[in-house]
């Protein structure tokens, strides 16, 4: 259907060829319209089911919403999930938004300086920028309320109803103004042939949107804080937690400073200071569980489980994959066959393979896992519960081998979670191996030859050529793997067991449970947004670290 309309448009366009579509500018306009037409169906789908849901989630999360939309609650859902930590969380988001805005401003300023454009031109871009972002906001709000039960909105927050005609008018106005401003600039800066405004319209819009959102969020947070019954206490707690985070940040800065010093003494001193700061940060953050006592315990546990799951799978799976890829890359017979075999766990349907793990790690005496344990301990231990075992793996295995390790939460992942970690490793090693193998193939052979002539051994070759040149891929894979563990759902949903008392429920599984079984839509989406923000922050931090560590050949 879409192709037909596209073709129809084109013929319509040719028929018009005496009008606005003639000449160079006309052809350009025609090309632009065709491109937009090509994009429309895909853009509609991706917007409706990929981008709009994020805004809609933000909206839903501010309501009591159990199957039917209920009363407006502001940020209460977030505070219920995180406790007073929520205030710090919002402060960080405000901070990030402001940093993004400032970054955009600095970049725009630099481009203006480099191209010797007078500053009043970028500043002029704020007029259409403001019009466009306000128009977009009106349309988006209308879009959101379109999907909501309007009665509830009128009871709660009538202001949120967006005005579409106003929004569209503002958008058109914005584009007209930008065209006009562009023309003025073209005349003023006759030398530069390219259009100036588009390069500043984007940053201007980003700055306006980010600052406005930050301002709104800050105001909401302030209102919540004032409405809180324990206003003073909440403030003190939030400050304490923020202090912990700031100390961690300082430790990180110190560490970087220390790594850049040339004198050993300074480096050592820097490292020691960083260690002290980390200690301080840990001291402050140990208050978190106490402070967040009136928060949702299950939510925090799901985050902890997610972290255990990430830490358990990602490093091990990448190491095994790297070793296998390196071995396969040697002149090996049957390389293709090995690659095909390693890839099978990744390609096999996850529900089926998770079902297999359920059988292998069943609590029966005859299950394969129990027989392996019996073989290792010479039959001295009774069979383990595996997927039904909520106690930490360390203490359970310690018991199996006759060592006593206290069973509390800090002892690490539960045995049930360890099985899920094993499953994750088993599935993803093959995928990572294949990508590592492709990366190894991209390393120029001459480098190895040159190093061999210089007398480098096998290990030196691996350490000084393979590893550094592979680092972009390692980085990419680690980002993908960490995000993957935060997204993981299918196999955990299959392998989780009520007997494991929620020790296997990662964040996404817990949200799903709250949403699907608990039908607490508003609350579940607010937690999903928290997770999303954490992932975003981690990606940014990983990118920052990679800028220094990763060698892009």
């Amino acid at each position: 259907m879409a192709t037909q309309t596209a073709r129809g448009q084109e013929t319509a366009v040719t028929r018009h060829s005496t009008g606005i579509f003639t000449g160079r500018r006309g052809r350009l306009l025609r090309e632009h319209l065709t491109a937009y037409l090509f994009l429309t169906p895909a853009a509609l789908i991706i917007f409706t089911f990929g981008i709009f849901p994020i805004f809609y989630a933000a909206y839903v999360s501010m309501y009591k919403w159990r199957i039917r939309q209920g009363e407006f609650r502001g940020l209460a859902n977030f505070i219920r999930a995180m406790g007073d930590v929520a205030y710090v969380f919002f402060a960080i988001i405000v901070l990030i938004l402001l940093i993004v805005a400032i970054n955009a401003a600095i970049k725009a300023y630099r481009t203006a300086r480099e191209q010797a454009i007078p500053l009043r031109f970028p500043l002029l871009a704020f007029i259409p920028g403001a019009l466009i972002s306000y128009g977009l906001a009106e349309i988006l709000l209308r879009f959101i309320t379109f999907f909501s039960q309007e009665q509830a909105i009128q009871q709660g927050y009538a202001k949120i109803l967006g005005n579409v005609p106003l929004g569209i008018t503002l958008l058109i106005l914005g584009f007209i103004v930008s065209h006009y401003v562009n023309n003025i600039q073209h005349k003023a800066a006759a030398k530069s042939p390219y259009s100036i405004l588009p390069s500043f319209l984007g940053p201007a819009t980003i700055i306006i949107v980010c600052t406005a959102t930050a301002f709104l969020l800050a105001r909401f947070t302030y209102q919540e804080l004032q409405a809180s019954e324990r206003y003073g206490l909440a403030l003190i707690r939030a400050a304490l937690m923020a202090a912990g985070l700031i100390i961690f940040a300082l430790a990180y800065i110190l560490w970087r400073w220390a790594m850049h010093q040339h004198s050993t003494l300074k480096t050592i001193l820097g490292i020691l200071a960083a260690a002290a700061f980390i200690g301080g940060g840990v001291f402050f953050t140990t208050f978190w569980p106490i402070i967040s006592k009136d928060a949702d315990v299950d939510f925090y546990r799901s985050l902890q489980v997610t972290v255990f799951f990430s830490l358990g799978t990602v490093p091990i799976q990448l190491t095994i994959a790297l070793i296998l890829a390196y071995l396969l890359f040697q002149d090996i017979k049957g390389k293709a066959l090995f690659r095909v075999i390693f890839f099978i766990p990744y390609i096999a349907p996850s529900v089926a393979t998770a079902g297999i793990f359920e059988v292998i790690f069943s609590l029966r005496e005859g299950s394969i896992a129990n027989r392996i344990i019996a073989f290792l301990t010479n039959g001295a231990t009774k069979s383990l519960l595996w997927l039904k075992e909520p106690n930490p793996a360390l203490s359970v295995l310690g018991q199996a081998f006759g060592i006593d390790i206290a069973a509390n939460w800090n002892a690490g992942p539960s045995l049930a979670l360890v099985v899920i970690i094993l499953y994750g490793i088993w599935v993803f090693v093959g995928y990572n191996t294949v990508i590592f193998l492709a990366g190894l193939g991209n390393i120029p052979h001459e480098l190895y030859e040159a190093a061999k002539i210089d007398g480098a051994g096998r290990w030196a070759l691996f350490r000084h050529i393979t590893l550094p040149l592979l680092s972009p891929i390692t980085f990419l894979l680690s980002v993908l793997a960490v995000i993957g563990t935060f997204k993981a759902f299918n196999h955990i949903w299959i392998l989780r067991d009520t007997a494991a008392l929620g020790t296997t429920d990662t964040a996404s599984v817990y949200f799903f449970e709250t949403f699907f079984r608990g039908a607490r839509f508003g609350y579940a989406t607010s937690m999903a947004i928290i997770l999303f923000t954490i992932i975003l922050a981690m990606t940014i931090i990983q990118n920052r670290i990679a800028e220094r560590r990763v060698f892009y050949g």
């Binding site: 895909a42 839903v60 996850s350 839509f521």
Partner: protein
């Protein structure tokens, strides 16, 4: 390998390098780890309940039963309530084979039955196929994949082409936004999408947009399961990378001959991009086959429930009968594994070349 001089005879030590043996040992060892669970799945799927529970390593026999029945039946059609006479394949497990295996012998709901012949088959598979209603779910998944791919193959190449080969204001911004959505966890999208779907269904159902005459257009129906996957950032990204490599001279030549963008896309670009299209199709297929969270949210009952959800229900329901569960798992995994066996080159190479550049 150590170098040999001309007059030395090669000894065993020269021919087999110990490092090499170690390398092979590690690779073979990991292959065993990778394949062992699959072996467990296949071997337990043939076992009896007793063998599974005692932890046998392989089944004593295949436990064949004459359970596939070709017959002419007269029966009451549960949907229409009419009496139908039909020659068909059914599953009919004998009492002897079902006894003590956790298998319910199929109840004979026919009015009259004229048996033609029976085919022997492992009884676990017959039972799993029958109890889990896997045939229905596989058919549902095939339908879902067919509809999704039709949309995907129309919408995504158009968008990818626009991103790769056309100039328009906001191209980089839109492409960046699209790539950024790859970072968003599905769960963040799934939860609001469920609300959007129900609301869309209500709007279309009650206000009658003329697009759909059904009671609910979206929830528990094909649009909810297919339309969101008809244009995925991943597919568009892969195609864009491929389309951008096509030399500009081809476009110039096509334009000389009077071809527009659409004709160029259909007649030149797409035929040149077959491997990437195949990769996109394969991954869409795998995605639909594996989909679990989204179908749990938007389907109830059997009309549109896809295979992964069906298998999950079956695994839950047959908690104590590992031999049946594994038979169900084999049936579910087999189509994907067969597909992989034929197209593994595209899987592996498509993933390792296109997944990296970007």
């Amino acid at each position: 390998m150590a170098k040999l001089t001309a007059n030395q005879t090669p000894t065993l030590w020269h021919r087999v390098n110990p490092v090499r043996i170690l390398v092979y040992l590690i690779l073979i060892g990991y292959s065993i780890i990778a394949l062992l669970p699959l072996y467990v799945m296949i071997s337990s799927s043939f076992m009896t309940l007793g063998e599974v529970n005692s932890g046998a390593f392989w089944p004593k026999s295949l436990n064949l039963d004459n359970c596939i029945l070709f017959s002419t039946d007269t029966y009451l059609d549960p949907d229409t309530g009419e009496t139908v006479t039909k020659t068909r394949l059914t599953i009919d497990i004998s009492e002897a084979a079902a006894e003590g295996q956790g298998i319910i012998p199929t109840s004979n709901r026919t009015i009259s039955r004229e048996e033609h012949f029976r085919i022997p088959f492992p009884v676990n598979y017959c039972a799993a196929w029958n109890n889990a209603n896997l045939g229905r779910y596989i058919w549902n998944t095939v339908r879902i994949v067919a509809i999704t791919l039709t949309g995907l193959m129309i919408f995504s190449p158009l968008a990818a082409y626009a991103f790769a080969r056309m100039e328009f204001p906001g191209r980089n911004l839109l492409f960046g936004i699209m790539l950024a959505t790859l970072m968003v966890p599905e769960m963040v999208q799934n939860l609001p999408n469920f609300l959007i779907i129900t609301e869309l269904g209500e709007l279309m159902g009650t206000k009658g947009w003329g697009l759909c005459n059904l009671e609910n257009c979206w929830y528990n129906n094909w649009p909810a399961l297919t339309i969101p996957f008809m244009a995925t950032p991943f597919a568009i990204f892969l195609m864009r990378q491929q389309f951008a490599t096509i030399p500009n001279e081809l476009w110039d030549a096509a334009r000389m001959d009077g071809a527009g963008h659409l004709r160029f896309l259909i007649q030149v670009v797409l035929p040149l991009s077959k491997p990437v299209l195949l990769v996109v199709i394969l991954f869409a297929f795998i995605g639909a086959w594996n989909a679990l969270a989204w179908p749990i949210l938007v389907t109830t009952g059997d009309t549109w429930r896809p295979i992964s959800y069906g298998l999950q229900e079956f695994l839950d329901q047959e908690g104590n009968f590992a031999h049946l569960r594994m038979a169900g798992a084999v049936i579910t995994a087999l189509p994907v594994l067969i597909l992989y066996a034929f197209t593994q080159r595209y899987f592996v190479e498509g993933l390792s070349t296109s997944g990296l550049k970007g």
